[in-house]
Symmetry: D3
Amino acid sequence: MKQDVKKGIGHVSIGDSYEGFLLIREATKGLTSNGKPFLTLMLRDATGEIEAKLWDASKEDETLFIAEQIVWVAGEVNQFRGKAQLKIFSICPAQPTDQVKVSDFVEKAPVERERLIERLTEAIFEMKNPTLQRIVRAFVKKYQESLLTYPAATKNHHEYVSGLAHHIVSMLAIAREIHKLYPELNKDLLYAGIILHDIGKIKELSGVVSTSYTTKGKLLGHIPMMVEEIGIMANEMQLEEEEEVIVLQHLVLSHHGKAEWGSPKPPLVREAEILHLIDMLDAKLNMLNRSLEKVKPGDFTERLFAMDNRAFYKPLFEK
Amino acid sequence: MKQDVKKGIGHVSIGDSYEGFLLIREATKGLTSNGKPFLTLMLRDATGEIEAKLWDASKEDETLFIAEQIVWVAGEVNQFRGKAQLKIFSICPAQPTDQVKVSDFVEKAPVERERLIERLTEAIFEMKNPTLQRIVRAFVKKYQESLLTYPAATKNHHEYVSGLAHHIVSMLAIAREIHKLYPELNKDLLYAGIILHDIGKIKELSGVVSTSYTTKGKLLGHIPMMVEEIGIMANEMQLEEEEEVIVLQHLVLSHHGKAEWGSPKPPLVREAEILHLIDMLDAKLNMLNRSLEKVKPGDFTERLFAMDNRAFYKPLFEK
Amino acid sequence: MKQDVKKGIGHVSIGDSYEGFLLIREATKGLTSNGKPFLTLMLRDATGEIEAKLWDASKEDETLFIAEQIVWVAGEVNQFRGKAQLKIFSICPAQPTDQVKVSDFVEKAPVERERLIERLTEAIFEMKNPTLQRIVRAFVKKYQESLLTYPAATKNHHEYVSGLAHHIVSMLAIAREIHKLYPELNKDLLYAGIILHDIGKIKELSGVVSTSYTTKGKLLGHIPMMVEEIGIMANEMQLEEEEEVIVLQHLVLSHHGKAEWGSPKPPLVREAEILHLIDMLDAKLNMLNRSLEKVKPGDFTERLFAMDNRAFYKPLFEK
Amino acid sequence: MKQDVKKGIGHVSIGDSYEGFLLIREATKGLTSNGKPFLTLMLRDATGEIEAKLWDASKEDETLFIAEQIVWVAGEVNQFRGKAQLKIFSICPAQPTDQVKVSDFVEKAPVERERLIERLTEAIFEMKNPTLQRIVRAFVKKYQESLLTYPAATKNHHEYVSGLAHHIVSMLAIAREIHKLYPELNKDLLYAGIILHDIGKIKELSGVVSTSYTTKGKLLGHIPMMVEEIGIMANEMQLEEEEEVIVLQHLVLSHHGKAEWGSPKPPLVREAEILHLIDMLDAKLNMLNRSLEKVKPGDFTERLFAMDNRAFYKPLFEK
Amino acid sequence: MKQDVKKGIGHVSIGDSYEGFLLIREATKGLTSNGKPFLTLMLRDATGEIEAKLWDASKEDETLFIAEQIVWVAGEVNQFRGKAQLKIFSICPAQPTDQVKVSDFVEKAPVERERLIERLTEAIFEMKNPTLQRIVRAFVKKYQESLLTYPAATKNHHEYVSGLAHHIVSMLAIAREIHKLYPELNKDLLYAGIILHDIGKIKELSGVVSTSYTTKGKLLGHIPMMVEEIGIMANEMQLEEEEEVIVLQHLVLSHHGKAEWGSPKPPLVREAEILHLIDMLDAKLNMLNRSLEKVKPGDFTERLFAMDNRAFYKPLFEK
Amino acid sequence: MKQDVKKGIGHVSIGDSYEGFLLIREATKGLTSNGKPFLTLMLRDATGEIEAKLWDASKEDETLFIAEQIVWVAGEVNQFRGKAQLKIFSICPAQPTDQVKVSDFVEKAPVERERLIERLTEAIFEMKNPTLQRIVRAFVKKYQESLLTYPAATKNHHEYVSGLAHHIVSMLAIAREIHKLYPELNKDLLYAGIILHDIGKIKELSGVVSTSYTTKGKLLGHIPMMVEEIGIMANEMQLEEEEEVIVLQHLVLSHHGKAEWGSPKPPLVREAEILHLIDMLDAKLNMLNRSLEKVKPGDFTERLFAMDNRAFYKPLFEK
């Protein structure tokens, strides 16, 4: 096997030479300013991604180098308009004998799948309210596979394989501690809200890799879709008369916090407000930790769009 | 029978004396600044309402003069803080022999119930798309009685008995003409959206008289509730695979036009945009016509809260 | 004549070859990244427009290929940054013998000029209020030629030859039907407002083709300019004492609906509010219909800047 | 003559007794909570105004004590809901023999009328551009009397007799100095803009005393009305072809600075921007100086609505 | 001793009779609508407060019943404009022999002072960064007494004796748990930010009881005042060269999260963002828990101004 | 010496040839679309700056042509994407014998340094309040050198050598005249506020040439930094008890006028409001005068980002 790469593509620096297998996430045709065809390739492995240009692309290249194809690449990392770009010296499609598979080239949650399902199960087991517990259990069963593989978003936070479950499990851990400090909170309701709040994304998003929005997702959005699903599920389980159902639907409906952010009702139940705050806390820490990891003490991160376009400073004294 | 009133309470002027039957819509106890009990009564008939104070109210008065009670009143119309107030000279509860009933004292749509159902039926009959037609027919059947009696809102526009049906029927008439002028529009989709867009109000609001919001209405709102109901109905009718269902849910979801106004998705289908515009057009004309009717040419109406607090001018040259 | 084009430039697809006459709407000089001169041409016919690059442009090319010149072009349609671009194989200026003229290459209203003037005349004829009718008649006479050729805007809606008259005539048709449904409306006032509301654009915009803003247009805007013109016209006709004049000026002044949108007073007369709504309804339908026409069922349109940057969905079930 | 008042009503303190002539600016009838009629009188002299209640008002009182009537009053200053209120011991209408007249009871600019006209004339005399000078001269001549008596607003700033001229003359003084420091400014244009910018208020407001808005003022506003008047004046003087006219109209149109504040175009000419800033500077200083005059060092003023509801602090060290 | 009250004034219901000692928090003179003097008293004990009116107040009453005076009151709880009001039957000042003191009548944190100082000390002891620890220790020493008695605000959240320390200690507990879940966080920095973030309130607010804003507080606000104090303290401790000082000042400066909320810089350091979120979380839970405690399951709380004026629902199923 | 340039680089037009010395302000490496290295150079002299591309840059070029290097250039001015670009024919680093120095290539205030210090001294000399005068004098002494060389900003207004002092001196001149017209103003306070308001920029910005923001500047900003510095200075001078200090800190704190613009408190003292207005007036005139100087009568300036992106018109009649 040709591979002898030292570090992943997410960790290379300007000037490094690179050799190894990468997955084509996206391939776009273009014309240079003097009319010659080229391909822009977004190449990735489990550690990150990089843009590359394939100059003077032939018709054959256009059919070989397409999205979801794994390729072997040799090249050098240059800078283009302030961002790293891979200059390709040599590229060819991976062969069956290379024994590489797509799932090796995507980013995954830093927690194992087994551990995620275990923690989710523990939380459901802690719940005492039978109505809430039954509904949550039904949804986890219905969507188990997707729940364990879907990302929590297409970008910004937890945008990796199992990101959805990772986000839920982190939020449950925060909720458990907040509940200990403020025992007035209804833990069962908070847990139920956390586990179900983003499950609508399974129908809003197209899948685990190269994730985009479905037409239904664009026209309705995951929040109203999940409110509807809870209603249908409650009907099937003959729980539609229980107040827990309405309050749980309210938690899902209001978890974006404001109308402008997609929640037609703001949180009007204590646990709805706390669900919204825990959701923000975990999403922001996920974004911040991953961005700060990439910069040296004394530097600022790149601007984070989902955090009001702020660039964050990593103090020197943390060295 | 004691009654000899010339004009309804909605048409009296400052200085008029008044005698007649009125319905107590609301009764609140108070204390004067020197500690004496009094009752504030909101009194109404089919033409409008007026505030009245019952001074030195006895304990018996407090049990006699309560909401939903019809009373015979004699008094004089005074002005208090810029608004008309009825000074009560004499008041007593109506007797069975007076043969007055609550339904005579509430405002009603200016179109007869039979005419409303007839026009609604015509519109459904015009529809050609079987999926849309079946869903609409199912909802009209399910909610027929409420649909024909509910107001369209608690205040601002069509806030009277049969206001919901009146609003729907007026919108259908506009839609029919707009469709003739712009035949690219899908009339069936537009009709279906118009008929269903506010049906969620039947569960959001408490009833036909003294209307308030239900707890479910406050926590979820009529828009997500109706999106959910369409989903459940489509499941029952085995239409859940039809694209019409999603698009119809989108029309309902987006009919307030903007996130800040309660639609988590803005209109993203042509007919959704037009539904929103026709809804505004009919609601605004209903408010404007009823307000302008109360003022003389050359004057301004009172400020209309739901129209950005504007006061509208009635030109003199219209005389 | 060399022409044998099958379809207009507005209807070509990526990969098509193209041959035919086109009008240069705009020509800009540029330098490639290695310093060679080229021309960027915006080429159009009556069906739409396309960008083209003329590489290695000589000094002579720069004088030949300028705005308002008709050219014969042969080339192929490619994609560049997600948009269609014409790759030019051959280009030369049209000759007198080709018998092509500029007016054949601009987009026109889908309604004939004669039909537009006819409908406008009918509407004026319907009016009964002599003051309003006289003012409207005077303006239509004064600006007749421009009124029948100007676009309604430089972009977004009705941005084609006779767009202004087309917009007015469509709005009159809606107004006629709305008036039938809500007879409280003053039809004469509404008609007068519709016909005059955008006539200020004749002085705000530079002309029918390659339309831009005049200095006066930039400094004052069509709304205050038209309010002023109505005042001057009323003076000349000795109508300055009539209340109709002020109310008509108010309709023009307020027709954008809000201060932020250029109306220093919001609508404060019923017909002013309705004028604003009908204006939006017709403008939006014009934009939506023309955008949706370009996409297939199941797809979304490009983002429409003037509609809050939304992309609209064309349902599959409409097929 | 009965009068022996020491200080004006604008300078009395809680607990003071008061005796003297006052003008009734406004009289409103009311009913006490136990149904007895009373009058609320807004009483004023040249130094300020105070509210008073006349309890147990007879029918005769209601006809005697009306707006614009001068009365002799004896009473005591009390506090009511945090504001001073005059408790009336005795009140009677002034008699012809009292030789008091309305103009003695209204607030006036602190600069004499003769001095105002003198300074205005000086400024016009300084102007060199004949077009601008002629237009300004024509307006000053046309409106001379009103210009010298109107307030600049109904409230907030310069809301007193001759307030409009006082505001203009103060702005001219600032402009003269700013022009010396920044000689690039076109002084003639700036002067013309200052003199004309608020003249539209003469038609927007109803008059000098008890000022309210005219119907035309409410429907059009002083800005578009003045843009129109300049156009008409330029036509009459055959100056309509001069660019100065458009630019001057732009200065008037844009002097509120932003669309939300009533200027459909923001300042797009240097002198328009400076006009806007000088207008704000003078208006704000007028408000601040008059509010701070009423409080002691170490205190805050009442909240000033027109200055974003701020209360301003008067430093102690200024003593 | 006369006292035999069963429940605190914060727990009485409409219709209850009441007898006991209360503290006058505020006393305001007024006049009834027929000119008679009365006193409005805000009366409180450790459980809450109630408004009362003392009718026909004599000059002596006005000097007896003033702020900070403890009184013995007998009366009945009535309703006035939707709020509870105490109708006074009998009132007299407390006597020395009654052995009641002001500190018994104010609300206190639900955690003992000793426990608060203990937890604060523990947190400082956990810190490892010497610069941060020294600064925090210096401030806790400098302000110890105030820190343990001041409220965290004049209203909305933790507005009671020791509220500031209670808020800090609760936030430290949350921070400790969040840090365990996200060990990337710099705990020392977060602790230092939490302990110091609101200490500026000690100079912004006037004191522990009847708290208002100081002039310095109104002109500068607690955030810039504390940034300055940290600078001065660092200078005195010769730590001004340490980066920790700037970053700590940044945490204090940015802890309101947005410019509109009083932070001229938004959080630009990870721990600053988390400090802001923990501050919101604890403040909101404090408000929510105290409001919900006052209502029955199935009801909504009153509107909470500091939470966007929302009324929160207490679910029935929690019973 | 090789130089024979006629006009500065800020005054060249498209098509001009150019020869002369220029300073490299910034140099960035890039790759052409076919992978060849080039340098983008921002070149400047005292009159302005221009972009240039150096094609086929060698490794040696990359080390020779770096920021702060002076070079001799021959070339031609072309247009690229609507902006002027220098096409380089020949370029070489300046030699010691060329006797050119960096300070000759930067823009400077149009007023001499000696004149600036003289006017500043005069203003301080005019001040009578000893506390304010002592503080101002101390700061001017502490920062004298930086105060006379720093720009007032990195872009938009007074962004040149000595821009800070130029801005202060211009504002003092306006303040002197405004004070004459409105003698109620406290001139000493206004002067002190003007002189100190932006001194925090000396620590917020990195230096005089190639100015950027310091880390401390990014985390705290010049406003809180200066409030802190005044506090420290007052402590050192034992003036911390004087009210002047707080009020002066308030002037600095509030001089941006609104929370959204970086002032956590809005102006709450008369002189603070006027400081804010004079700051805007001088900054805007500086921007406008310099932009309008570059365009011909009848044209519009480029869009000015700091003035709400407006393009300003230069009237023709000013010719």
